[in-house]
Symmetry: C2
Subunit: 213 residues, 2 copies
C-alpha cells in the first residue's frame, strides 16, 4: 500500500485512479456488476496493479467508501453553508446546498455508499461498515448545528439532534432512489423541499412536549 509521493506534474497514482473509477462505475451500475476488469480499464491500470493495491474487490469497495468519506468530507467542510451566525440558518443552508447539488445526470449526484449498501449489506460486512461510517460520519457533522438550533430556539421533545441528522440523510438517500426510479432529479428535489419544510415547522412550531413551548 506504500507509494512514493509523485512529483506534481505526473497523473494521479494507480490507486487513486482506481478509486475514482470505482466511484464513477459503482454509481452507474452498483458494486456487484462492476468487475475488476472494468475498473482496471476505466483507470488505465493493469490487473497486476489492481491486486498490488487491493487484496480483492471487497478491499477496493472498502477503500472506495473511505475515499468517498474523505473527498465528500473535505467538500462539505469547505462549503458555504457554515457561514450563517444562526445555527438554524446553517441547517437550512445545508439543505439548500444539498438541493442545489441534485442536478444533471443521476449517477453524478447520487451517493456512492448508499448505492453500495443496497447490494453488499448482507454479503460484505467490511464494506457495509465502511459505508455506515461514511453515512453516520456525515450526519454527525450536522449534529452540533441542530443541537445549537434546538437550544437557541427552545425546541425539543421526543427526538434528538442525532436522530434528525440521520433523518436528513435518510431523506437524501430516499430522494436518490426516487431519482433513479424517475431517471431524473425533479422528485428528489421535491423531497428535499419537504425535508426543509419539516425542519422549518419543527423549529417554528415546537410541539407540546418541548421543554420551552
Amino acid at each position: 500500500m506504500s507509494e512514493a509521493k509523485p512529483p506534481p506534474s505526473v497523473p494521479p497514482p494507480a490507486r487513486e485512479r482506481l478509486l475514482e473509477a470505482a466511484v464513477r462505475l459503482i454509481r452507474v451500475k452498483g458494486f456487484s456488476a462492476t468487475t475488476v476488469e472494468e475498473l482496471c480499464a476505466a483507470a488505465g491500470v493493469s490487473k497486476g496493479a489492481f491486486f498490488h493495491h487491493f487484496q480483492d474487490k471487497d478491499a477496493l469497495g472498502v477503500a472506495a467508501a473511505d475515499h468517498w468519506s474523505l473527498t465528500t468530507g473535505a467538500f462539505f467542510a469547505a462549503a458555504p453553508y457554515h457561514a450563517p451566525a444562526d445555527p438554524l440558518e446553517r441547517v437550512l443552508a445545508y439543505l439548500d446546498f444539498r438541493r442545489a447539488l441534485i442536478t444533471g445526470e443521476v449517477a453524478e449526484f447520487t451517493c456512492l455508499v448508499g448505492t453500495m449498501l443496497q447490494d453488499v449489506h448482507e454479503t460484505s460486512p467490511a464494506i457495509r461498515e465502511a459505508c455506515e461510517a461514511s453515512l453516520t460520519g456525515h450526519a454527525a457533522t450536522l449534529e452540533a448545528d441542530i443541537g445549537a438550533a434546538m437550544a437557541q430556539h427552545g425546541v425539543g421533545g421526543d427526538w434528538t439532534a442525532s436522530s434528525l441528522a440521520l433523518h436528513t440523510q435518510a431523506v437524501l438517500q430516499g430522494a436518490f432512489v426516487l431519482a433513479k426510479a424517475r431517471g431524473g432529479p425533479q422528485a428528489a428535489i421535491e423531497s428535499v423541499d419537504h425535508l426543509r419544510r419539516y425542519v422549518e415547522l419543527l423549529f417554528r412550531h415546537p410541539t407540546a412536549d418541548s421543554p420551552h413551548p
Copy 2:
C-alpha cells in the same frame, strides 16, 4: 407465459416459485449478484424451466417488480389503515402501519424495487420502468387520502398531494438504506417517526401561503 391453472393441492408453479425466490434473493444481495443458477436452486426448478418462463435475467427482473407490485398492492389494499373516517387519520394510520412493518431481518422488511433500482437504473431501462411503476403506483394509492385531508383541514400551499405521497416513499426508501447501513431497524423507525411528525405539523400548522391559514 400462458400456464394452465393448477389443481388446488399442487405446489406453486415454477414461474411463481422463481418470482418468490427472486424477491428473497435480490433483497439480500441485489439484482446483479443474483445469478440464474441461484434462482433456479432456490426455486427448485431447472434452468430449462427458467428460460421457458423468462427470456433472460432482465425479463425475470421485470416480472419480479410486477409480481412485487401485485402482491404488495393486495397486501396494502387489505390493510386496516383504510378504516378511519378522517382522511388525515388514514394517512397517519398508513405511516403507523409502515412503521410496524420495520421489524426483524433487514432483508425481510426492505423493498425489492428500491433495491433493484440501485443497480439497474442505468443498465436496464425495462427493469427501471417496472420499478418506477411499482413505487409511483403505491404512492398514488395515498394521494386521494392526502388530497381529502388537505381539503378537509384547509391545508395547501407550495406542495401537492402527489409530491407528499412520493415523499413518504422517499423517506421509507431512505429509511431502508439506513437500516442496511446499521444492520437493523432502529434508525429506520426513527425516520418514519420524523415523517409522521412532519405530516402532523403540516396539517396542524398550515403555512402562510395556505388557502385557509
